[in-house]
Structures are given as structure tokens and as C-alpha cells.
Amino acid sequence: MIELADIDKTYGVGDVTTQVLKGISFCVEKGEYVAIMGASGTGKTTLMNLVGLLDKPTAGQYRLEDNDVVTLDDEALSHLRNRKIGFVFQQFHLLDRANALRNVMLPLIYADRYPEDAEDRAKKALEAVGLADRMHYNPNKLSGGQQQRVAIARALINDPAIILADEPTGNLDSKSGIEILAIFKRLHKQGRIIIVITHDNNVAEHADRIIVLKDGQIAEDKPIMQPRDAETELKELNNKEGQS
């Protein structure tokens, strides 16, 4: 599905260059849930931008499904992003002046064919993240957790095969964080690839594989035998709240 081979990424031109990624190689198969960890500045976001087709590697090979990504032009990459990848950012990146529904519909504008049931699809996506009653709210009237769930609904609207999340819980309290992770768990069960970048072990332990970056290289790439289950944790949390 995702196949990276000997990826280098160097920022800057001329004398002042920094090589951020050095010979990264890994594959992610359909249905995997991967956490990418590493100290600040080791190149996690850089890697996500490459995987997410927002940037091109300086050297190396990248195959996404049948596409040799390195050879594609801007237009082809944009279409591929639109169809295959759903982004979730730490800062949510919602349009302030548009309500939740319009934010969720945004990727459809750039789809090859605008679906006739666009609004219904957006409503369903919002229902799926538990925001059916907040559809007409603008982001400034939503909590951080709710905003991030709108962003996830937006990422899901084109039914992408891959969800890329960079510190999705970084700006959230632990309860909201668990809610997000529970949604990811469900998306994972639907067969999507989930890639989550995080500093937080409590987040990474929900994945079934952890890749650790260090100084632009893969220091560790290990499976998790017993991943935590956010959905049950959330239920327990809710029960506890109900009791107290």
C-alpha cells in the first residue's frame, strides 16, 4: 500500500542545508495502525508531509498503491490527496467563517465529481463522529475536541484509504483525546490505514505498530502485541463519570 524506500529529505539550498530524513524505508499494508514517535525535531512532520503527498523527497522511492509518487505532477498529486488521504492536524485547521457542515464538505469541492448527495454525506460524517447536533455551529463555538472531530469528519468525507494524523490529541484534554482515539480505532476496524504521529506513549499504545525516528532515521520499528482499545477505555470512562 505505502512503500517508502531510501527516502532522503534535505531542506534549504546552497550552503545552508539540513538533511532531515536519511534513508527512510518502510511499508505499511492495508489495515495497519501505525504510530510514529520520536523526539522533537527528528523529522516526524517532514515524514508525514512526504507520505501525505504535500512534499516531495529529495531522493528515494515512494509507491502509493499503484502510483510512483515521485514522478507525478502537482495536479495528479492533488487528486490523489483528495481521494486517498484524510489529514488530521494538531491545530485542527478549520475555516473559522464556515460552519461544521461546510467545513466537512470542503474536500468535495476539489473532488473529480461533486456528489449530488454532498450535504447528506457531510451530515453522515458528522453523525459518525457524534456531532449531529452541532452541524451548524462555527468552529469558534465548538470545544477543541469537537473541532478535532469536525476535522476527522472532513478527513472521512471522501472515504480515504489512509488517515494521517499529526499530534491529533496534542491540543486536547485526555477525555477528548480518548474520544478521538476511539474514532480512529473504529476507522481502523473499517480497514483503513491509520498513521498517527505522537510524542505520547498513551496515544502510541493504541496502534498495532510503532516506528521510532531518531536523527532522521528509523531507530525502531516494532509491532505491539496487545494494543490498547480506546473504545472500551472510553466506555469505562463514561461509566465512571456516570457513577460519580
Partner: protein
């Protein structure tokens, strides 16, 4: 359809920033409004002047008292144009058919049939009718004898007759101007609105001598009017006859009034080719100036539009990056931002065009102007404004499209 969705996005962005959109629009709006108003008014005025010029008989030369360029009215304060000048013109200038002298006063009070009103008094000679090609309807006109005896008689225009006497027969009745009583000898044929746009039937004709001595108590004339035989004939010198004759009249009057150019004339000469030249110069100088000003406002508006868009692009880098991440191509971003500028321009053109019309209609109401329209010129204005809109929109849109999503999303 994709382009429609992109345009819709652009319009949404404008609607959420209405004040910004207004400032982006202002230059186009004002420029188009000004150009439209100038266009309609100058077209209308030119058309009106042309109509007047075509009414001006092509064999007539008129010498007005008082200087000034071309198509002017006689000036009352000038007392130097005398009946002797008319006689000299008659005696010394060739190719003239008729020469007639007129002294006029406008807005005098007149009494008759125990009613009172205001009218314009024209003091004339018997050949006035022939020169003006305007004759008597009932009764008779001023005769040479009336002139010789300074007879207290007059001829009424249709309007003043109606006002004072209604359906009654006024011939033989008396009217009073100042403290002079005049017997009505005849009625002029109705003529409607004259070349100057004033009602021509609101007038009373009096023998020239009577008017000068008894009514106005003055020596001087308002104007001398003459007709030229074969006015279009080309003379041996290559000049057109009417122009040649006008020049001879000018020289004669220079001599008689002791004027040596560059000293200013105390009279002005009008004939049909001067009237036409005059129209050309009016439409040229004023409209060119106004068009340049309005064009500048469009260009300045374009620069403002471009700068606001550039600021807007800088403010919205995050949004642009996000849209790129969600699948917008460079072209999509370009089109969205260009269409923002275009939408503003188009709305500015529409409102500006309507505003221009309203302004010209209002101006016409309050001033002595007329409106006309040329779709060709209007299309040119629209095209010009659109081009400036596109030109101003392209640069910001290109900058927006060039932004790298990775740079903008941090």
C-alpha cells in the same frame, strides 16, 4: 462545474469580509459610474448640439453684439453694434441677399386686455420675415412706413396672443409695454421651440425705430442677421463663400469699431460651419479630460484591488495550505482567487453602470443637458474595467497558487 464551485468559494470568502470586498470594488464602481455618466451626457449633448446645428440655416451669418467664441447669445451690455454698421455691411459686402437688424430685450412686462404677463420684445425691420423665413398668420406686419414714422404698432407671437386675448380677435387692440401703447397689427405664425431650445412664440415684434427710440431708449442693436447668395460656392481663392463673406464682415467691423487684433472683438460672428466646429471642440476638450480622470480612477481602483488581494492572500496562507492538503490543485487556487477579484469587478461594473445612469439622469434634470447612449462605448467601458480587474487579480492569484502547502500549514 468545478469552476462554478470554485467561484462560489471565492464569493463566500468575499461575503464574509464585506468591508474588504467593498474597498476592492470602490475604484471600479466609481470609475465605471463616472465613465458611464460622461458617456451618456456627452453623447446626449453632442446629439443635441448636432440637432441645433442642423436647424441653423446654412446660408445665414449672424453678428452678435459682444465678443465671445462661436455659438453665443448677444450680450446686452455691449452698445457698439449700430444700425450704421448694418448699412455699411449692406453697401460694402458682396453676395449678400438680405441684411436685417434686430434689437431684442427679454422678459419685459406687457399689459393688454386688462391682463399682464412677461414676454420678449424683438424690434425688427420689414425684411426680418424673409430672413427668418417666418411669416404673418393674420393681419399685417411692420412696414417701411411704420419704421419711418416710428409707429406705435406691434405684431404678437402665438403664445403671447393666447395669454392676453385667448380666443378673442386681437387685431386692432392695444397692448402696453412700459408706458408705451402699441396697436396690434398682426399675429405671427406659431413656430414651437427654436434652435436655442426656447419657446419662440413667446415674443412681440415692434418696428426697429419705434423700439430704439420709444421703448428701449438706445442706439445700438443686439444683432445683425444676413443671408448669403450661394453660400457653399467655392471662390477663386479656394475659400468657401460663406466663410469668405464672414471674414469680410469681420474686417469691416474691425475698421468701423477701430479694433486691431489681438485686441478683442466687441462682436461675434456665427454661421453654420462655425457652429459645427464648435460642437467638435466642446465634445473633444471636456470629454477627453473627464475620460482621462475616470480612466485614472479605474486604474487606481485596480491597484487598490490588487493590493487588498495580496494582503488577503498573505492573511489566508493557512487556508490556502489547507485547501491544497484537501486536494485543491494550483489551478484551483488560482481560479478561486482570480474569481474573487473578478466577482468584485463585475459587481462593481454593474453597480457603477447603474449609478452612472442615475447620476446622468439627475444631472440632466438640474442642468441644461441631455443624455444619449452608445452600447458600443458602454461595451468599451465594461471591457476596460474588466481588463483592469483581470490584470489586478492575476498577480495575487498567482502568488496564492504558488504557495507550498508544507510551508503554509505549520
Amino acid at each position: 462545474m468545478r469552476i462554478l464551485r470554485l467561484t462560489q468559494e471565492g464569493i463566500r470568502a468575499l461575503l464574509t469580509h464585506k468591508l474588504r470586498a467593498f474597498f476592492m470594488m470602490a475604484g471600479t464602481l466609481i470609475g465605471v459610474a463616472a465613465l458611464t455618466a460622461i458617456m451618456t451626457i456627452s453623447m446626449g449633448t453632442a446629439r443635441k448640439l448636432k440637432q441645433q446645428a442642423s436647424k441653423w440655416p446654412h446660408d445665414v451669418i449672424k453678428v452678435n453684439a459682444g465678443g465671445g467664441k462661436g455659438y453665443t447669445m448677444p450680450q446686452e451690455a455691449i452698445t457698439t453694434l449700430l444700425p450704421a454698421d448694418a448699412e455699411a455691411i449692406q453697401d460694402q459686402i458682396d453676395n449678400l441677399v438680405l441684411v436685417t437688424s434686430v434689437a431684442e430685450k427679454r422678459g419685459l412686462s406687457i399689459k393688454g386686455n386688462s391682463r399682464q404677463t412677461g414676454t420678449n420684445v424683438f424690434s425688427i425691420q420689414p425684411n426680418w420675415h424673409e430672413v427668418m423665413n417666418w411669416y404673418i398668420d393674420q393681419g399685417e406686419s411692420v412696414t417701411d412706413e411704420d419704421i419711418a414714422t416710428m409707429a406705435r404698432v406691434c405684431v404678437l407671437g402665438a403664445t403671447i396672443r393666447e395669454e392676453l386675448f385667448g380666443e378673442q380677435d386681437p387685431i386692432g387692440e392695444m397692448v402696453q409695454i412700459g408706458n408705451v401703447h402699441l396697436r396690434i397689427k398682426g399675429i405671427l405664425k406659431p413656430r414651437g421651440v427654436g434652435t436655442s431650445g426656447r419657446a419662440s412664440d413667446d415674443r412681440i415684434l415692434v418696428p426697429l425705430s419705434t423700439a430704439l427710440r420709444r421703448l428701449f431708449n438706445q442706439e445700438h442693436l443686439s444683432y445683425i442677421r444676413m443671408t448669403v447668395r450661394d453660400p457653399d460656392k467655392i471662390e477663386d481663392t479656394g475659400e468657401i463663400r460663406i466663410e469668405r463673406t464672414a471674414e469680410e464682415v469681420r474686417q469691416l467691423l474691425h475698421e468701423r469699431h477701430h479694433i486691431t487684433p489681438p485686441q478683442e472683438d466687441d462682436f461675434s460672428i456665427v454661421h453654420s460651419s462655425i457652429v459645427i466646429k464648435d460642437i467638435r471642440s466642446i465634445s473633444k476638450t471636456t470629454t477627453v479630460l473627464l475620460i482621462v480622470l475616470a480612466g485614472l480612477s479605474l486604474i487606481v481602483g485596480g491597484i487598490v484591488l490588487m493590493n487588498i488581494m495580496l494582503v488577503s492572500v498573505n492573511e489566508r496562507t493557512k487556508e490556502i495550505g489547507l485547501r491544497r492538503a484537501l486536494g485543491a490543485t494550483r489551478g484551483d487556487i488560482f481560479i478561486q482567487f482570480l474569481n474573487e477579484s473578478l466577482a468584485v469587478t463585475v459587481v462593481g461594473i454593474v453597480i457603477g453602470g447603474i449609478l452612472g445612469w442615475i447620476v446622468s439622469i439627475l444631472l440632466v434634470k438640474y442642468r441644461y443637458l441631455s443624455i444619449g447612449n452608445s452600447w458600443g462605448l458602454f461595451a468599451l467601458i465594461v471591457l476596460f474595467a474588466l481588463l483592469i480587474g483581470i490584470f489586478s487579480g492575476v498577480q495575487p492569484a498567482r502568488r496564492a497558487a504558488k504557495l507550498q502547502p508544507v510551508e503554509t500549514l505549520r
